[in-house]
């Protein structure tokens, strides 16, 4: 293997995946989870990097979410840059510190997103309307409005971007293990 510069391939893949998730969420409106209300009556589309809530042609805005999303976007892009740098030069003194700075961030972003989703779907509707919304699959939710009773068909699913984010998180963790077990001992 002499002459071949040592790199951490898992770190490179993880970094590129993280940048692609950042770009697809920020510029192409990709979300990790979506809930559709009826047949195009409204939708909730969320990820840790953006959100869109629409009902009957009107969009919902929650200002604090934009600032939280900004935090997650910056954390993800910082971690990706750090991981790529330390993967290109794993033997350098700074690579350990860059790796330690980067490798847990996607996991924290993912866990925060899942906790937020559970609060959004299970806790808030249960407190406000005594109903719980499906995280996955379809169900009919009864709602009272003025004198009318309404049955709303709700369909939820995780998108491909969510599974790519999980793969990215696992790649980050694998890159950390690869760095500690293999590169350090060479």
């Amino acid at each position: 293997m002499r002459g071949i510069r040592m790199i951490n391939p898992l770190g490179l893949i993880g970094g590129i995946l993280a940048i692609s998730i950042f770009l697809s969420s920020t510029f192409y409106g990709e979300f990790w989870w979506e809930m559709r209300i009826g047949e195009d009556i409204g939708h909730i589309k969320v990820s840790a990097l953006n959100y869109e809530i629409e009902l009957l042609g009107s969009f919902m805005e929650i200002k604090i979410l934009w600032f939280i999303i900004l935090v997650f976007r910056m954390l993800l892009i910082e971690s990706a840059i750090a991981l790529i740098i330390c993967s290109i030069a794993p033997g350098k003194n700074f690579s350990d510190k860059l790796l330690n700075f980067a490798y847990l961030k996607p996991l924290l972003i993912l866990l925060t997103f899942i906790v937020f989703l559970l609060i959004l779907l299970l806790l808030l509707p249960l407190i406000a309307f005594r109903v719980s919304l499906p995280i996955l699959g379809s169900s009919i939710i009864p709602i009272r409005l003025d004198s009318a009773r309404i049955d709303a068909l709700i369909t939820s699913r995780f998108t491909n971007s969510f599974w790519i984010m999980i793969a990215t998180t696992l790649t980050y963790l694998s890159a950390h293990i690869y760095h500690n077990k293999i590169i350090r001992h060479k």
């Binding site: 929650i62 200002k63 700074f94």
Partner: protein
């Protein structure tokens, strides 16, 4: 290299706390604006007005088409896929027949659209036989709008002459 570790820790802290602190400072006068969801939407049941009726015989059966003006109060095109319900005499509460939608109806945003409902007069209200016109109640009305079903009732729709005048 501890300097790098310190710098990275500062970077993380700034990344996490910076935007949140900025938001709290900018909206310090009214924090509810920051946390409360904002949507320019009032959920209303669409307004429905009786317009008129048509009738015709299918063999022995009297088929009545009721025209209602329905106003879509939302900024979105909506399609009524299905309507079912029961028709009762308003005055005496006698069951007259079952109701259905004549055809799928597209409701343009903030505009009234005519919705045509059809029912076959299965039984007559005995006590209305001599009346020149009939007022009906639409009960157990189920209106399916793109997967959302409204259960509602409308009363005192008419007058419907039913060819007796």
């Amino acid at each position: 290299m501890d300097t790098l570790r310190l710098l990275l820790a500062i970077l993380t802290a700034t990344t996490v706390l910076g935007p949140i602190c900025y938001a709290l400072i900018v909206y310090r006068e009214d924090l509810s604006t920051l946390f409360m969801p904002r949507i320019e939407l009032t959920l209303n049941v669409p307004r429905i007005e009786y317009v008129g009726y048509e009738y015709g015989y299918e063999g022995e059966l009297l088929k009545v088409t009721i025209a209602l003006n329905i106003t879509n109060p939302y900024n979105k095109v909506l399609t009524i896929r299905n309507v079912t319900g029961s028709v009762y005499c308003h005055k005496h509460g006698e069951f007259l027949g079952s109701l259905s939608l004549l055809e799928e109806t597209v409701l343009q945003p903030n505009k009234p659209t005519t919705l045509k409902l059809i029912f076959v007069l299965l039984s007559d209200c005995e006590r209305c036989r001599d009346a020149t016109s009939l007022y009906v109640d639409l009960k157990n009305l189920s209106i399916n709008v793109q997967g959302i079903t409204f259960y509602i009732g409308y009363e005192n729709i008419g007058p419907i002459a039913l060819g007796r005048s």
